[in-house]
Symmetry: C2
Subunit: 163 residues, 2 copies
Amino acid sequence: MHNDLDDIDLRILRILQADARITSSDLAQQVHLSQSPCWKRVKRLEKMGLVSGYHAGLNRRALGWGMMAFVMVEIEKQDDSSSSAFIQAVQAMEEVVMFHGIAGPQDFMLVVVARDLDDYGQLLQRQLHRLPGVRRVSSFLSLEEFKGQLHHMPIPAAAAAPH
Amino acid sequence: MHNDLDDIDLRILRILQADARITSSDLAQQVHLSQSPCWKRVKRLEKMGLVSGYHAGLNRRALGWGMMAFVMVEIEKQDDSSSSAFIQAVQAMEEVVMFHGIAGPQDFMLVVVARDLDDYGQLLQRQLHRLPGVRRVSSFLSLEEFKGQLHHMPIPAAAAAPH
DNA sequence: CGTGAAAAAAACGCAGG
DNA sequence: CCTGCGTTTTTTTCACG
């Protein structure tokens, strides 16, 4: 069984990535297929796991997340038992929107959102720094977003206050 | 005119973020509203710009992007004319999926995908390092993704080869 | 692949409470 | 906010070339 993608599949993916709500007939038109076979391709792409889901993209600032930071963390030991505690704790923090283990002297890269600088300071002091085995934390605050909207961001418990 | 969000709005956003394809009646049920007013809320949230769009989430590895890296770049001068050339060039690179100006000794943080290490090396040498005014580039390669799927990733021109 | 078509489901909009 | 109703659109499936 081979499941390679042809050009049309790639174009379908490109379009669905930009607009997941396009109707299947419009989509079919744009890739120059008729509705029925086009729809089958979409379902196939979903089954193949190429499309992992459909998500609303939310406006970070409108939700009250005025701050974003890249955070690098170095931990004491890299053995499984101690790092897995760290990993679990970080995964549970909803302000952490991205979390990767990385190669190099530092061990982890986090992308974090916060309401403002105060909020971020508290997050750092009261949560990140207190996690088990944390040796060093370096923050790089975002000043401007040139590319790449964040998706999957936390929804605050209380309402945002757009001004 | 005030446009604050109540609890139900936030729950709607949370649900749409997880599944943009939910039907409005199912959504209504989950937030304990009836279909009609629930639907109006969604439209209102869209008009308010809280929902910026609906997007298919794609599988990075299935698309052939086996590598991901965080890249910090320091440029020569921070004046507008020279940095804007850099910014434009980076924005045009489709492998760059996230691109922020940051505070600190480094000037920019990029999140980059590549097919493999070779591909990444070429990207670095042939593109990033050659951009005008680049002083220093530091790479942090992702070893493991603990949290935060990437969205809006480039669709390769040629088909991916899932094995 | 294509076409056409038809049944089922959803979206959308409006009335009256 | 609700319920209900109707119209339009879309989805989904199927038969056939």
